[in-house]
């Protein structure tokens, strides 16, 4: 009994934290609420990190929940990323939400609800549970996007995201219905058993259902035929929310996508690969075009996040073509993208605390004279996002392209490398603006606080993930991270 309770403890702590925050939201100040939220999240994080690698695959409360809630290293690694992402979002933006008067206590509860939804999504072994979890996460994010409700851009972004998101959410449930019609169950193992046993069965129904589910997942990832919301929503959302969406929410979609394609539809992967190849090409080209044409840094990062989805889709389509490296490559890339994007958006919101204007490339002219520390950190994150050697982003892209070549998708790998070169343009433009232009303002003294320290730690991790070995115990370097990713994927495949 207590063992079972211990298994769901991290998830329970997060949702209890959300309830506590709701109750306290009127009596506590924002600072204290922030600390309470971070306390609950880090409690959950610590339990998960102690558990990683030590638990065998099991179900929580199998006699009550059935086989709906699975616990394996795969989901634990995702939980770690979600809680870490939320903690970083909250801690880096402490100054930001104090500078804006539209924040109130419910903000923290919504973030915790969203993390709870994502955690269930990573653990769910059943399609209806996954759908509800996805909706918990997205409904909280809808509200967070529109948090600045007296701002027209923010409200418009929320409406756009909510209407399109709800509509594509319906595709998920329709696909689930089709699969249920064919298999008679929505449990992933039953579906896998149905799909993987070759018999004289028509898999058309499962295939169409799977495609509909994929529509929802690709929409939330921002892959190109479904990308029209990305830039506007990322721009309309307040900076902390953009950071949360880009770094944390995006990862959650890959949790369900990987679980589906590795367990569920493993034998249908050949069909996926064809569809995914087309979408990958569109995503890489369309995303690059989106990113190049932007003047504002926030919009540029939004466009580039589409390109990063494209890189991950390269490896995703390689899964079906028999590349063992592909799934760990996606996990590694997720970690690397999480660190770099959270850092870049974190710096942006850190800067935006003091000014309310839209930040364009022009505003960054001579930034290194005004804020040498922050611009150095920003340069590191930009190098990592563009995939410069000796950063974690380079290794991420290296594994992705290796998996593509391993599975024989040479053209896709080539296109990926070309878009990586294109991305150098829009990332290095920012570095050039910061370092090669004289400053128009005088150098200002800026306070070095806890947020600045966190950003520095993340920049160190970005570099350590690119060059480091396991010289320093407890801090995984490059080879440690890929081992972690492989371990997680192995735990996923041991189920069958």
């Amino acid at each position: 009994m207590f063992e079972q309770l211990f298994l769901i403890l991290p998830m329970a702590i997060v949702v209890m934290g959300a309830f506590v925050l709701l109750l306290l939201s009127k009596t506590f100040s924002l600072d204290k609420l922030n600390l309470v939220a971070v306390f609950f999240l880090s409690l959950s994080f610590i339990i998960e990190i102690l558990r990683f690698g030590t638990t065998t695959v099991c179900y929580s409360f199998p006699e009550i929940f059935g086989k709906m809630y699975i616990i394996d290293d795969f989901s634990i690694l995702f939980d770690l990323m979600f809680t870490a992402g939320a903690i970083l979002t909250l801690l880096i933006n402490t100054a930001y939400f104090k500078s804006r008067n539209y924040y109130n206590g419910e903000y923290f509860a919504l973030i915790l609800f969203s993390v709870f939804g994502m955690m269930i999504l990573a653990h769910s072994n059943e399609l209806v549970t996954a759908f509800i979890a996805l909706e918990i996460a997205s409904l909280s994010v809808f509200a967070l996007v529109g948090y600045h409700k007296y701002n027209k851009v923010s409200s418009e972004a929320m409406m756009k995201y909510m209407i399109l998101g709800s509509m594509t959410g319906a595709f998920f449930i329709l696909g689930t219905a089709f699969i249920y019609g064919a298999v008679g169950s929505t449990n992933l193992e039953d579906i896998a058993a149905y799909v993987n046993v070759p018999a004289e069965k028509d898999l058309v129904l499962v295939l169409i259902g799977g495609i509909f589910i994929m529509v929802t997942i690709l929409f939330k990832m921002g892959a190109v035929p479904f990308h029209s919301w990305v830039v506007d929503v990322y721009q309309g959302a307040p900076f902390p929310v953009t950071m949360f969406m880009a770094s944390t929410f995006k990862i959650a979609l890959f949790a369900i996508a990987l679980r589906l394609s590795l367990i569920d539809f493993a034998s249908l992967n050949i069909v996926w690969s064809e569809i995914l190849q087309v979408i990958t090409v569109l995503t890489l080209i369309g995303g690059s075009f989106l990113a190049i044409t932007q003047k504002s840094i926030k919009r540029m990062l939004a466009g580039s996040s589409v390109v990063h989805s494209g890189y991950m889709l390269i490896a995703y389509s390689s899964i079906g073509l028999g590349s063992d490296m592909a799934a760990p490559a996606i996990m590694f890339y997720l970690i690397s993208y999480f660190l770099s994007a959270a850092g870049a958006f974190g710096i942006l919101s850190f800067i935006a605390t003091g000014s309310k204007k839209m930040m364009t490339y022009e505003d960054f002219k001579g930034f290194s004279e005004r804020r040498p520390y922050l611009s150095a950190m920003m340069a590191i994150f930009m190098l990592s996002l563009s995939g410069f050697p000796s950063t974690i982003g380079f290794l991420g892209k290296f594994y992705i392209f290796t998996s593509a070549i391993e599975s024989g998708q040479i053209l896709l790998a080539g296109l990926g490398i070309v878009t990586a070169f294109i991305s150098v343009y829009y990332y290095f433009k920012l570095i050039a603006m910061m370092y090669f232009y004289p400053s128009t303002d005088q150098q200002k003294k800026f306070p070095f606080d806890f947020s600045g320290l966190l950003i520095g730690v993340m920049a160190m991790m970005v570099i350590w993930g690119g060059v480091g070995t396991s010289l320093i115990p407890f801090i995984p370097g490059a080879n440690g991270l890929i081992d972690i990713a492989k371990q997680a994927i192995d735990s996923l495949q041991n189920v069958l």
Binding site: M68, N101, Y102, V128, I132, L139, Y150, G184, V204, I208
Partner: protein, 169 residues
């Protein structure tokens, strides 16, 4: 034979209601067409001998959703001339129909692949008791996390809709 004719009638109402909801210019008519579609859907559930879903459909979709939207429409009371002008509305709708036609073909194709043999329904199928047993025995986890979903949605809606005079700046 009887259930087939009832089904055709209900399907006709469902289609008409859905078309009317999109087609009418007056929002009040749209809402009432939507109500018609929802009632027809409830009839479908009744035809399937699922009394619980039939009741839930009427109570939730008709009783709560449509009545609430009617209430909003009536209390806002938009005049005919203030409604947005959509001169090429039906041309756009035709365009949209052409656009989603492939999707409709895919869905139709999926439906034709549905298995034709169905498991026999047991005693008391569709009753409240069976529904409760299913929800609380086989589907406890989804059922419980739906409550969190509703709470999160409610908190979000309150945050967005609440008026804060101090923040008007």
């Amino acid at each position: 034979m009887l259930e087939n004719s009832i089904f055709v009638l209900l399907a006709l109402f469902l289609l008409l209601g859905s078309a009317g909801m999109v087609g009418f210019k007056q929002t009040l008519f749209s809402a009432i067409s939507f109500m018609m579609a929802m009632l027809a859907l409830a009839g479908m559930f009744a035809l399937l001998d699922n009394s619980f879903l039939f009741l839930a459909q009427i109570m939730v979709s008709v009783g709560a959703v449509v009545v609430l939207s009617l209430l909003v429409i009536v209390s806002v009371n938009v005049k005919e001339e203030n409604l947005p002008k959509e001169p090429a509305k039906f041309r756009w709708m035709l365009f949209a129909v052409v656009l989603v036609a492939p999707l409709a073909i895919v869905i139709y194709k999926a439906l034709t692949y549905m298995p034709h043999t169905w498991a026999k329904t047991g005693e008391g199928y569709g009753s409240l008791k069976m529904m409760g047993m299913t929800l609380f025995k086989d589907w406890v986890l989804p059922f419980e996390i739906v409550s969190v979903l509703l709470l999160a949605a409610m908190v979000g809606a309150i945050v967005i809709a609440r008026k804060e005079p101090s923040n008007d700046a």
